[in-house]
Amino acid sequence: MKINNPRIWLWLAAAIVVLNGFFPALWIFMTSIKGEAELTRIPITYWPENPTLQNYVQAFREQPLARYFLNSLVVAGFSTLLCVGVASLAAYALARLHVPRRNLILSLLVGVSMFPVASLMVPLYQIFVELGLRNTYLALILPHAALSLPVATLTLVSFFAGIPRDLESAAMVDGSTRLGALWHVVVPLAAPGVFTAAILAFVNSWDEFLLASTLLPAKAMRTLPVGIQLYQGEYVFPWPLISAALVVALVPVALVIAVFQERVVGGLTQGGVKG
């Protein structure tokens, strides 16, 4: 084996990146299939000796994990729909129509996306308490949709801008209205962009903790990050439960990014390269 064989270095490089990215998730999975006796033994074991699904049974039995999962799904799903719907309309206008002060609006969008959530949290708490909406899904769906709106809009503006105008004009000459052209020509071509924006909005909402813990604190309304985080205070040795619950909570996100990885990378880096 030659040391300057480039393929060895390639393998090594790949191993570093893959191990760095996967190790924490892998370790929490390993933790989740060890029994409590094995988890509290020194020295620690690296390969589970008696793999068991007991922690998963407990995670669902002792805590309303299925309910947390449902809450996360409802909030992430509806906020994504709202966000992408609203963003598509705005992005079409910004990319295609004569909008007065277009650059100011784009700058404002970037500015709003930088608002610290911790600052918005204080007035949002007051507002939703006054409206009697705290501990309802709507109290989290609206902020989550708004938080992803700037990024979704900016992503979609560049997608719409990439669709040839001639196609749209041709449809309009053929007798379609502008909205008809939008629906039949622009929407199908923009679908990949809409999809990318939707994935980013979904992951953002699925991950969000600060507003979720402030606006939906009731046990039946908690999302996964809020519910699982609180196990720490409720159990002396919470790791069997936390690890199993984390694996359950990570599966949807892991699936989404595994299936749509190229799209996600494209959506994430778009702003960066152009900026």
Binding site: P116, R178, T269, G272
Partner: protein, 287 residues
């Protein structure tokens, strides 16, 4: 319908949503910050001008939180850039199968911050943690990572760097892929070493992407909340409490909205100063 009217109708829903959830709350936040308003004392507040801000500047816990936040920015932003650059250079090698490396960069980005905090709390567990196991195998001593102020701070910074470096790597990787290969070939013909190519070609051409990643990271680092909250709740004592955490304790847990709002305004101003610099930079790059 005129084009202008259509444009306004299309922009209206976005404007309403952002107005209700972002712009109105900011106005309300600034307004509340001028009041003595504590739910535990009664439902009404009284106007006290800038007294909440004066109190903040006298409050050692505020300065401690600000110091921790600034330290996190100063340590984790360069840290994430360095690790991210290394990961991007490794990931840019000509692999035949690309998806494992791509997923290796995407997974840390997609993991919720709170979950990363929990997982690394488990890593740094003084009894059963992987980190102590490695240290003891190498002949070192067990460390009480999350129970000693300095060690807890180091553990948190390490975790933040791990979590954020992969996003940096994705941005830098996209930047690396725009550098034409011909440049490296030409440099090689001219007898340049790999090291020289890196300093003379890669780094200068990557500078815009590095700057963008740095600015994004800086803004989000000022807002750090989830990872220290999940790992230490700001402890031991207030050793790892950030500004965002102090805002939350003051307003949501102690229901002191007047003072909490003033703290939140200060956090907001800090973020907006960085954002304005960022927008300036983008505009500068466009010219």
């Amino acid at each position: 319908m005129s084009e202008r009217a259509l444009a306004i109708w299309l922009l209206l829903p976005a404007g309403l949503l952002l107005g209700f959830v972002a712009l109105y709350p900011v106005v309300r936040l600034i307004y509340t910050s001028f009041f003595q308003f504590q739910l535990t004392l009664g439902p009404e507040g009284s106007f006290i001008g800038l007294a909440n801000y004066a109190a903040a500047f006298e409050d050692p816990r505020f300065w401690n939180a600000l110091k921790n936040t600034v330290l996190i920015v100063l340590i984790t932003v360069p840290g994430a850039l360095l690790v991210g650059l290394l990961l991007a250079l490794l990931a840019n090698l000509p692999f035949r199968v690309k998806w494992p490396v791509r997923l290796g960069l995407l997974l840390p980005w997609a993991l919720p911050l709170v979950f990363v905090g929990l997982i690394f709390q488990w890593f740094f567990d003084s009894q059963y943690g992987v980190v102590n196991d490695w240290i003891m195998r190498l002949g070192g001593e067990r460390q009480f990572w999350l129970f000693k102020p300095d060690l807890a701070f180091i553990a948190i910074c390490f975790t933040i760097i791990w979590k954020t470096s992969s996003f940096v790597a994705l941005i830098l990787l996209a930047g690396l892929q725009t550098i034409p290969k011909e440049l490296y070939e030409a440099a090689q013909v001219d007898g340049a070493s790999r090291w020289q190519s890196f300093w003379r070609i890669t780094l200068p051409l990557l500078t815009p992407a590095i700057l963008v990643a740095m600015i994004f990271r800086t803004i989000t680092a000022f807002q750090t909340f989830d990872i220290p909250y999940a790992m230490t709740k700001g402890g031991p004592g207030n050793a790892t409490e950030t500004l965002a955490m102090y805002v939350r304790v003051t307003s949501i847990e102690n229901l002191n909205f007047g003072y909490g709002s003033a703290l939140a305004v200060l956090l907001f101003l800090l973020s907006m100063v960085i954002t304005v610099i960022y927008l300036r930079y983008i505009r500068g790059a466009d010219d």
